[in-house]
């Protein structure tokens, strides 16, 4: 590909004479973005709003941790605190982490990996983004009209009787659910119909397997959340007795409905993270991924098993011992495919040529943190230990190790991996290392302490706490400030990169998947030729070209569908 040797200028400047066309300068003005059908621009817009949501959720988190510096009142009242942890959870889950990787990196990278011009249904893609905006606006409006104090789980009958803006928040989540369904549907169709010549199912990059498995869950599970939230709204506004025992309903039924979606949703969050891991570990080890089929099948296995384990959130709810036994047994089955993936990633590094660039630092962080997150799940899947640990900080620590230590860290790996492709600019590697280290240290200090206070019996969602938990809480809060500094540094060097970053070559890391075959940033039409796919992990097909500080294919014609050769 000669694009790699072209001087790249696409950074939002209008494409004047001599400037190369890129999706960033193809069309100008706000409307050319808001109504674009280009998957790349939709991905960028998603990235902007999702990072804004992450910032908002992070601000709530800092308020929570600051309040918990001392028992009793530190900076806010109990009611405000209860709203803070609800908003932190709801914003992080519904606005940030569920759409997170698929809607941003998935949208940007998936068609490129297929060598395609766009997703199969570009209008549906734009509709998904707009639904996200509407849903997010409704949810954020609920904060203005009184916020919500139910916890992000909206358990009945508390949620049907509290005086806060539950209807607005749940309506927002309902609309966001449709956004998620549209994205999932689009990706399923795209992967089924638009794979290039040579890309059989088992020659797809593993990122696509992960996104595909995620999409299956999005499409099958999210409607259940929609129905549940509608029933909740019906009960609150019309007094229809479904969940509230005072109206003849059953509050535990709500928990079944809610977790029937929300447990699979946990895998909507982690599967795309695992998908990124498979790409980054392979490329930065300079080696073919180890055990491709096991990794691919484990994604599908996780997607299917995820539907069968929701009852493990309810071991103390009063459901029967038999039910508890079945759900405990099924829950352990999900541990297996996750373990298999971790071992395969480790094996990929064996005899590799490992580069500790920022994406790999995050990938190694992921292995460390996800190992803790996954292993502590064993304590919670096991019945007798879960009874003690349920609804304590042990659970809080566990899911933060999985969701933050897993998903967010992998998201950061993915951002740093594809950043040069997306914006055509490199970032400061040194500052990236500093922030990766701060985030790693801050994260562990924040959440590892929570395991210990949790197993000592500190319940979650507590505004006030017993004196003896003070030191744990303070250590955790100190950690959260370190974490925050890490993220602020990241925001700094990434923004700096957008303006001043060194121009990125087409293939800075030596990845063999098709997105690296086009320029950075990609042209509006993605590829100048029809592409064909080979082995996505055949990294030996690439060699380092010091003149462009990037990798080039030894045989460029190997990925071109038509035998036209390089131009």
């Amino acid at each position: 590909m000669t694009d790699a040797t072209t001087v790249l200028t696409g950074d939002g400047q209008p494409a004047g004479p001599g400037q190369r066309d890129s999706y960033l300068n193809h069309g100008k003005g706000v409307l050319s973005w808001l109504f674009t059908l280009d998957h790349k621009r939709i991905g960028i817009m998603y990235l902007a709003v999702i990072l804004a949501s992450f910032f908002l959720g992070g601000v709530f988190a800092m308020f929570i941790r600051t309040e918990l510096l001392t028992p009793g009142q530190t900076i806010m009242t109990a009611d405000t605190y209860n709203k803070m942890f609800t908003l932190h959870g709801a914003v992080m889950i519904f606005l940030f982490i569920i759409p997170g990787i698929p809607a941003t990196l998935g949208n940007f990278v998936l068609p490129l990996m297929l060598g395609a011009k766009d997703v199969a249904l570009p209008r549906l893609n734009l509709a998904s983004f707009w639904l996200w905006l509407i849903g997010a606006s409704v949810a954020v409006a609920s904060i203005i009209i009184g916020a919500v104090d139910t916890g992000w789980t909206f358990y009945t009958p508390y949620s049907t009787t509290t005086g806060t803006a539950v209807v607005a928040m749940t309506l927002g989540a309902f609309i966001l659910g449709f956004s998620s369904i549209f994205t999932g549907l689009n990706f399923i169709v795209t992967i089924h119909k638009m794979r290039p010549e040579g890309m059989t199912w088992f020659r797809m990059p593993l990122f696509l397997w992960g996104i595909y498995s995620t999409a299956i869950i999005q499409v099958l599970a999210t409607p259940v959340l929609g129905i549940t939230l509608l029933l909740l709204i019906a009960e609150r506004t019309l007094g229809v007795g479904i969940f509230d025992p005072a109206l003849g309903g059953d509050p535990v039924l709500y928990q079944h409905f809610f977790w029937f979606y929300s447990h699979p949703a946990v895998y909507i969050m982690i599967l795309p993270a695992m998908a990124i891991m498979s790409e980054v570990i392979s490329v930065f080890s300079g080696k073919h991924i180890f055990g491709y089929r096991f990794i691919a099948w484990s994604s599908i296995a996780i997607a299917l098993l995820s539907f069968l384990v929701w009852g493990h959130h309810m071991f103390t709810s009063g459901q029967s011992s038999l039910t508890n036994m079945i759900f405990s047994a099924l829950t352990f089955s999900v541990a297996i495919p996750s373990a298999v993936k971790v071992f395969n990633w480790l094996a990929t590094m064996y005899k590799g040529s490992i580069r500790l660039a920022a994406p790999m630092l995050y990938a190694l962080s992921f292995l460390f943190l996800f190992a803790i997150g996954g292993l502590t799940g064993l304590f919670l899947g096991s019945l007798s230990t879960d009874i003690h640990l349920h609804d304590t900080y042990f659970v809080v620590a566990h899911f933060h190790y999985v969701m933050f230590g897993g998903t967010v860290i992998a998201f950061l790996a993915g951002i740093h991996y594809w950043w040069p492709k997306i914006f055509g600019r490199m970032y400061s590697e040194r500052w990236a290392q500093v922030s990766a280290l701060l985030i790693f240290v801050g994260f562990n200090l924040t959440f590892f302490t929570q395991f210990v206070m949790g197993s000592h019996g500190m319940p979650r969602r507590y505004y006030n706490y017993l004196e003896r938990f003070t030191a744990y809480h303070q250590a955790s809060t100190v950690g959260s400030f370190i974490l925050m500094i890490g993220f602020l540094i990241m925001a700094g060097y990434l923004l700096h990169s957008l303006v001043r970053g060194e121009r990125a070559p087409a293939n800075p890391w030596g990845g063999a998947t098709l997105e690296w075959e086009t320029a950075s940033p990609p042209p509006y039409f993605n590829f100048e030729h029809e592409m064909q796919a080979g082995d996505p992990y055949d990294l030996d097909a690439l060699s380092w070209d010091p003149s462009i500080k990037g990798y080039v294919r030894r045989d460029p014609s190997s990925v071109l569908a038509a035998p036209r050769g390089a131009d």
């Binding site: 535990v252 300079g286 180890f290 040529s353 006030n464 250590a475």
Partner: protein, 336 residues
Amino acid sequence: MTALNFVGLLLARIAMGPDPDDGSFWMPPQVSTVARSVDWLFNFILAISVFFFILIVVVMVVFVIKYRRREGQQAQSSPSHNTALEITWTVIPVIIVIVIFFFGFKGYLDMATPPANAYEILVEGQKWKWSFNYPNGYVDENLHVPVDRPVRLVMSSADVIHSLYVPAFRIKQDVVPGRYTKVWFEATEPGEYDLFCAEYCGTSHSDMLAHVIVHPPGEFEIWLEKASNFLETMTPVDAGRKLFQVRGCQQCHSMDGSAKTGPTMLGVFGRTENMADGGTITVDENYIRESILEPNARVVAGFEPVMPTYQGRLKDAEIMAIIEYLKAPAGASQEE
């Protein structure tokens, strides 16, 4: 980096002094018959977890150091899959989780199956208060139990879902409105332990605490008899104050003049109140009695009709004591 965690934890432990709750590094003290088996399983899983965690991190670190990229050096060739190896590391975790599942289920069955001769205490949760109802009808705000005797709690909620949690006993059970849930335990050490509400229930969720008092052999019955006779042994005002605190009144009715969910009871007797339906009323014995038994019949203006009835939950003598307490001058009500 784990070193940093442990430095943090170590500092935390030093700041608190050793063993803040007389437990181990991970767990609170073991004070029930099931605690030992729960902790055994916890430590078993911990050992497995530490083993695998160290395995993963050591392999990772060794690979990163050993196979670090060097100038002009490519990855060495090695197989991109090995079915026997991959099946091995699939099957080993399967076996391990089956073992963990088995012990977890076995331990849980013991927790879920109360012995036939268990001493039964009725528990009611309401925002943000626990009430423990003893077989003789006495109600207390703390859970008093005899040592070395199985105790079964039959629990219900007056409003939203709560969850009764005693870390020292390793038991937890949600308390759900509209149904009865049950939990049992046998305490093994006399002493005083914490009882938490573990299911989020609103404003004062984190203050919905109680104590579990485990009485030494023979002393529980003496305590219960003495406590149950408070109507006889205490003055009506003191008995009324106790009832006002124990039975959940003060959760909504302050004694300092501030309005909470309900009007303040400071100087309520003889006060003239505007009613929600427009009339006025001068608070006397009959109105207080009515408000306890049929709370929403006549509601003071500005408040929601949300108080649950105490019909059948308070005896006549108890209602009389509460009335005497509310009649007493403010000084008498601020002693505690």
